[in-house]
């Protein structure tokens, strides 16, 4: 059903070097932001200190969802972790810029570029 098109689908993967991957596709609203937060918390609990959020397939966001991402970022930085994003549409990139996420999180064009850079650093 069309339903599936915007309900956020989240999957996670634990990679080498304490890198956690969250892939999110759909609508990042309150519920969607919370689903990402849960996924990040789980990865952090199992030892990840760098979190990459891949937004391929995410086209609609709202400021409530993004504010939840800011909260996760806040908590992650507090515990010495870092966060990165990849596959942002131009509008989502612009929103991240306006809301100040880009000052505290690294942004990569795609997953390959992100993994290369984060793997090198981490």
């Amino acid at each position: 059903m069309m339903q599936q098109e915007e309900k956020l689908r989240v999957s996670t993967e634990q990679l080498e070097g304490g890198l956690g991957l969250v892939a999110a596709a759909g609508y990042i609203n309150n519920e969607g932001g919370q689903a990402i937060a849960d996924a990040v918390n789980e990865l952090v609990a199992s030892g990840c200190r760098t979190i990459l959020i891949d937004l391929e397939g995410t086209r609609i966001i709202n400021s409530i969802g993004i504010s939840i991402l800011l909260e996760i970022l806040d908590r992650l930085m507090e515990s010495g972790g870092t966060m990165a994003f990849c596959n942002l549409t131009p509008t989502i990139a612009r929103t991240f810029e306006i809301m100040g996420l880009v000052q505290y999180a690294r942004i990569f064009p795609d997953r390959a570029a992100a993994l290369a850079a984060l793997g090198r650093d981490g």
Binding site: E6, I60, N62, S63, I64, I66, I92, M99, G100, L101
Partner: protein, 138 residues
């Protein structure tokens, strides 16, 4: 061409407005990027009408224009709630760690950044956010 929507306060009801923007914007030949910007701005305006309007429904009109300076899409979001002063700076709640970065209060800022023209008129009982995106514009 006008789409007119009367929307109740139901979860995700802003997606009906988003779909209207998409269908009308596409009929004007908007790019994906332009459509996405108008979609996000429309969603924010709907959330404000739902969150702050405090009534049982709100109204969305999407109009296509093909006059003078090229085609454009106009979206109006109207609610009959308490209203507010559009000139007042948004009350933001700064983050403890991130310092100056505020976590809420970004709706109207996003709308102004993503649209080409924005006009907010509000008085008790009637708030109308009117916004325009030009096709092939800046």
């Amino acid at each position: 061409m006008e789409v007119a929507l009367t929307l109740p306060l139901v979860p995700d009801v802003e997606l009906i407005a988003a779909r209207a923007v998409q269908v009308m914007g596409r009929s004007l030949g908007m790019t994906d990027g332009e459509l996405e910007s108008v979609t996000v701005a429309t969603v924010e305006a709907c959330l404000n009408a739902m969150e702050h309007g405090g009534q049982t429904c709100f109204f969305v009109r999407v109009n296509t224009h093909r006059e003078d300076g090229g085609p454009s899409l106009e979206v109006e979001i109207e609610d009959h709630g308490v209203g507010f002063d559009p000139q007042a700076p948004p009350r933001t709640s700064p983050s403890r760690i991130l310092g100056c970065v505020a976590k809420r209060g970004w709706g109207l800022t996003l709308i102004r950044e993503l649209m080409d023209e924005v006009d907010v008129r509000s008085r008790p009982g009637k708030t109308v956010v009117r916004m325009v995106k030009h096709v092939g514009g800046a």
